[in-house]
Structure formats: structure tokens, C-alpha cells
């Protein structure tokens, strides 16, 4: 049994729902051992949840996919819910998203089903307490690593969760209580995703390159934290398979059936299909909020503009932490 079990329970899981996972920023420095990155599928929403509860970058919070989760607070907690609107309520009253909320002892917090977006992030002031495995608590079920038990288990009904009492993050006085309106993503709008061309893009036929960037692709129901398959015109590449090589977050690989797969946080570390390039980290996050059958579009971007946007996003969370 891991150490947190000896700590007091601050939250009890009344109903686990399909998939709720503890996620810090991810597992790094071990990918050469075949260990995947993990971490939040939507790092943008994850970061804001921490920020609104005064937690520094990297603090573990809960990624709730699709909803169905029902929790009860054992003591009063300061929380923030960001990301997808999964119809969250406290004692049947809707919880305002993207802002700090008091969750009183004895009250139940329930996630229903997607209204817009797919993954919500629940951060608690102080951060959830769990023992890191290979340097991280990021929960990867396939690798049986991380999470509250250290073994990659998703939340289960009856679990008791602990919150750090005196984390470095409890600086609520300096933290914003709500995200500014212009920081809120609108998941009801079709996703337009930034692709940095690379790898084998020159080996695709001209027709396929035209199709890649002029198609409303449809998100397939074969979509999870490893990757998201897109359905649309068949993309043809002169190369069928490659000698396996390292693959980065957001890489778009095209297997012989011509239907692209965007690789996300829990992808395998190496792979051998030709690639169009890679989504920007923020676009990979946006895609992770898409439900099956939603339309997405790819646009080719240069790295300078994308880097500027990425650094602007990260600057919000680092001004107070140094």
C-alpha cells in the first residue's frame, strides 16, 4: 500500500465514472527506456486549474474524461474546475468553471456528461498527494505507472484521496480567482489545429497534401490518451513503413490505410509509420477535447509564430513561481 493511505482522506469517491486519472506535467527523462510521457491530455486547461488554486506548475490534479464521477468532500476545500463542461454540480447546483470555488465538507461534487469538450480538470488547493513513480505521479494505465496507488490504476469507487496540507502552492492570496474571458477556450467551435510540417511530408502525394489541409477531418471513436484517429480522404505516402524511431507529442502518423492518427501523451515512444509533422502542444491539447464525430481542420504553420504563442501561454504560469 502506498503512503497516502496512511494520510487522512480528504475526498471520497462515491462513483468513479469511466475514466478519472491523476496527472502532473508528465514523466520525463525516462523515454529512452520505453516509458511514455503521460501528463494532461489538455495541458492548457490543466495549467489553469492549478493556477486558480494557487498551485505551482507541475502540481498533480485530476483529469476527468467524459464525466460520471461523483465525489464527497471530507473537509472544506478550495477547488477549480477547468477544461470541458461536463455538467459539474455541487449538491445539484452548477459549479462555475474556470474559477475558484469553495467545496464544503459533506457536499457532493458530481460530473454528469459532456456539454462541450471531453476532459475536465479538477485542481485542489495544495494539490493531490501521491508518491511519484519514476519521478512522476502521472497515471498511465497501460504501463501500470503513477496515479494514487503508483500502479497506474484509474480512480475506483470507494477510493479515498488525500490533499497536501502544506504544499508550496498554498498561496491563494496571489492567485487569480477566475480566468479572464479571453483565456477561455470555446470547445463548441470546430477545432483548427496548428501543424508544424516535418518528417516525411515531402513523400506524400500532391493530392494528399492538398487533402490534408483542405478537409474537415472527423474525429473517430478510436480515440484515447495514446492517439486520436481522424477520418477523411485517404492520404497516400510513397513510404509505407519506416525503421522505428522516436515520436514526439502531437505527431501525425499515417499508416497504410491512409487515415491519420495524432499521437498524444500516452503514445508508444517509438513508431514506424510516415508522418506529416506534429501538432503544436496547444493544438494537441485542443484535439484532446474533441468528441467522436466532431470536425477538425489542419493548418500548416511555421515554428516562429507557434513558439511565440506557446511562450505567451506558459508565461502566465511562471511569473509568480520563480
Amino acid at each position: 500500500m502506498t503512503q497516502h493511505n496512511s494520510l487522512e482522506a480528504d475526498i471520497r469517491v462515491l462513483r468513479a465514472g469511466p475514466l478519472a486519472l491523476l496527472q502532473d506535467s508528465g514523466r520525463f527523462g525516462v523515454r529512452h527506456l520505453g516509458v511514455t510521457q503521460g501528463g494532461p491530455a489538455d495541458i492548457y486547461s490543466w495549467a489553469w486549474a492549478n493556477h486558480l488554486t494557487g498551485n505551482p506548475w507541475g502540481t498533480a490534479n485530476l483529469e476527468v474524461t467524459f464525466g460520471g464521477l461523483k465525489l464527497i468532500a471530507v473537509r472544506d476545500l478550495e477547488i477549480a474546475i477547468t477544461g470541458a463542461d461536463l455538467g459539474a454540480t455541487i449538491e445539484h447546483k452548477p459549479v462555475a468553471l474556470w474559477q475558484r470555488t469553495r467545496w464544503k465538507a459533506g457536499d457532493t461534487l458530481t460530473f454528469a456528461a459532456p456539454v462541450s469538450g471531453l476532459r475536465a480538470y479538477l485542481a485542489v488547493c495544495g494539490g493531490f498527494a501521491a508518491e511519484p513513480v519514476l519521478g512522476s505521479v502521472a497515471c498511465v494505465t497501460r504501463e501500470e505507472l503513477g496515479g494514487f496507488e503508483g500502479n497506474g490504476a484509474k480512480l475506483a469507487t470507494g477510493d479515498e484521496l488525500s490533499v497536501n496540507r502544506s504544499g508550496p502552492g498554498q498561496q491563494l492570496a496571489n492567485a487569480p480567482t477566475e480566468a479572464p474571458k479571453n483565456a477561455l477556450p470555446d470547445f463548441s467551435q470546430p477545432a483548427v489545429l496548428d501543424l508544424l510540417p516535418g518528417a516525411q511530408i515531402a513523400s506524400f502525394t500532391g493530392r494528399s497534401l492538398f487533402d490534408a489541409f483542405n478537409t474537415w477531418w472527423q474525429v473517430d471513436d478510436r480515440a484515447d490518451r495514446m492517439g486520436v484517429r481522424l477520418i477523411g480522404p485517404r492520404l497516400n505516402c510513397k513510404i509505407n513503413t519506416l525503421i522505428s524511431e522516436g515520436i514526439s507529442l502531437g505527431s501525425i502518423q499515417v499508416p497504410p490505410d491512409g487515415q491519420p492518427i495524432v499521437l498524444l501523451n500516452d503514445r508508444q515512444t517509438i513508431g514506424g509509420y510516415p508522418r506529416l509533422g506534429a501538432l503544436s502542444p496547444l493544438s494537441a491539447s485542443r484535439l484532446a477535447q474533441c468528441l467522436p464525430r466532431e470536425p477538425v481542420r489542419l493548418i500548416a504553420r511555421g515554428s516562429d509564430a507557434v513558439l511565440k504563442e506557446h511562450r505567451r501561454f506558459r508565461a502566465v504560469f511562471h511569473s509568480e513561481s520563480v
Binding site: A199, G246, L307
Partner: protein, 237 residues
Amino acid sequence: MSWKPVLESAGLDAWIVRMFASIDERNVSWLSALARRCEEAFGDALVDLVPSYTTLLVVFDPLNVSPSQARAIICETLAGLEPEETAHEGEVHELPTWYDISVGPELQRVAEGAGMAVSEVVEAHSQRTYKVFALGFAPGFAFMGLVDPRLECARLDTPRKRVPAGSVALAGLQTAAYPTETPGGWNLLGRTSARLFDREREGFSLLRVGDRVRFVPVSREVFEREGGNTTPLEPIT
């Protein structure tokens, strides 16, 4: 090196350095040398390095260095690069392996394909010292080669839903041992009692890219004494 390295963008935070056109055991010493020099050159800006058969994926922190700065750093490390000397080559690991039909049901298939007796397959597989080309698929899963070409054997048409931990396997000209129970489509020849991935161990993975590996045939008794799991494999369903 008769091949000129090529850098390919792998997104906002990574470059692929394509060093070679084909798989060769000698690639590893070049890739290891490049990885070592990248560690020094990037310092804190380095996030991960993923070596594979012919490439090195360099993952950096884009808050620290831009993609074009990272490219310049990598180009500098490539200039005057020398392969690591054989003396610095990876460790040699001996993996005690129980070759048996009950835990290696494809021994028969490989033997038929090679026109050899099962005992000859075991001999051919255990005689060579293999090089670890890449880790991937699952934590600690090492792709090794190259096996005796007579044993070359395609993957199973239908992968198994569960391949037990320790399974020693063959696909094409490569061999591997499964660190944990996962699905898999490789041909199973036997099982090793070695613990290939252990989160309590320093470094976690027994095998690293560049290491050398020998499978040492042992009896069922020795395999069991070493903690090996003798549960026979379920037929493919």
C-alpha cells in the same frame, strides 16, 4: 560514415537526427556518442533523448531554446563526432532462458520454417550475442538483433491478447523479451527468469540501447529456482 546526417523537424520541441539509412550494429556507437554530446550541449534545456535503430530524437524545452537554436546546437555536436570506442560499449547481460514448447509455442513454427530441429533452433538463437537497437513498445522492452537469418520468421497473423512477462520472442530478424504482460504478435520461443523492468531498481530497465545480450538455455529446475513462471501459455483464441 557514408551517410550524411539529416535533421527533420519533429514539432515545436523536438528534432529527429537521421544518422543512417539502414539497420546496422555499428550505428549504436555513433548514436550513443551523439546522445552524450547532446546532454552536454543542451544541459538543463534537454528534456529527453530517444535513440533508435538509425535515429536520435532530441526533445528540448522550447521555453529555453527555440527550434532554430536547438537545430544549431545539434549541428555543432554533429561536427567532428566520433563513434564511442568499443571499450565503452554497453554491458553484456546473460538472460537465463527456459526454451520449451509449453512457454514457447512457436519453437515448432520457427523450426519448420528453418527446416531445423527444435534443438537446433534453440542452439542458433542462444549462440549469438545480440545488440540492443532500441527500447519501446512498453517500458524496458528491448528490440535486439540480428538473429541467425535461418530463423527469420514473420509476426503472428493474430497477435495474442496476453503475452506473459519474461517471454522470449522472435519477429523478422529481431528478438526480444517481454518485461511485463502485454498483448503481442511475436513468435514465442521460451521464457527468461530475468526481471527486465523494475521500478525499485536504479535505472529501472535492465537493458539499455547499446547493451549486448545473450540468452543462456537453462533447465526447468533452474528457471523455477530463479523465480521463473512456468505457467503454460494459453492457446491463441
